[in-house]
Symmetry: C2
Subunit: 164 residues, 2 copies
């Protein structure tokens, strides 16, 4: 598997994954009916580094890395990860997470923060804990889960300098 | 003192306050050199309710109220408050905070979250605690304070339904 920066030619594949991930309304706050245009605008913002994971010439995952806040908070990175439903369970999330931590370190970030990890997304919570993140905050009922109703969301954080 | 929705004619007064508040680099993540255009674009975004506090025909404070997240997280409000340096110590922050909580309830939000309360901004932390907010998360070294270097920032949260 190959991880590289995304480009314009990857847009169709990224949108396919993005749409498949948000449509169930169980892990991301985005409107499950979010349009392709809005999704790609968000994923390719000016302050955002966008990556894809390729396997046998097919794009199976994508992630973004960016400052979590402007100027006086821009030393903390933020990231978001999406794996194609057809490529789940193969360790791709972990591979992208490790790649992302190394990229964040290379780009000079001091730490990484996830603002909104849905508490019922247990594989994600476990993966980030394994990669050195801690739950530093719990947001009561902050996510309106399509199946479960209002569930908690976590703020997760880790310093960089030692890549897991 | 009168609290009301802001309009185009308030832009000069809002920018004066905004600039005076961010220039010291001790409470907000915004670039202390942020431009008037960027500041007003942020303060008057499409999803944002903008208010001003008037005293004797002069605008002495301003705040914004908006969803903290898109769609499946949009039931939690976010807000930001700025008081003119010439009007500090008069209880204006509290008045705006109480008004904001009532507005958020009226608009149907279920809770309010502050993503980034600088830990060394003790008057703000104390005020929000007095208005029913709890520190639900601590972000280590998340703010690069112009005088103190890297200091912690807090995530603060309160449910609505009972206005302080």
């Amino acid at each position: 598997m190959n991880l590289r920066q995304a480009n314009k030619a990857d847009e169709d594949a990224i949108w396919d994954i993005f749409h498949a991930v948000i449509a169930p309304g169980d892990t991301y706050v985005f409107d499950p009916a979010m349009s392709r245009e809005e999704a790609l605008a968000y994923w390719f913002r000016a302050d955002t580094h966008t990556y894809v994971a390729e396997s046998d010439g097919r794009i199976v995952g994508t992630y973004i890395l960016k400052p979590n806040q402007p100027a006086l908070g821009s030393h903390i990175a933020n990231a978001a990860f999406m794996v194609s439903p057809t490529a789940r369970g193969l360790g791709l999330g972990r591979r992208m997470g490790e790649h992302c931590l190394a990229e964040a370190l290379r780009l000079g970030f001091r730490a990484m923060q996830f603002n909104f990890v849905v508490s019922t997304n247990e594989p994600a919570v476990r993966l980030w804990q394994q990669l050195g993140f801690s739950i530093v905050g719990t947001l009561p009922g902050a996510f309106r889960h399509s199946q479960l109703g209002f569930v908690d969301s976590y703020v997760m954080f880790r310093t960089l300098g030692t890549v897991a």
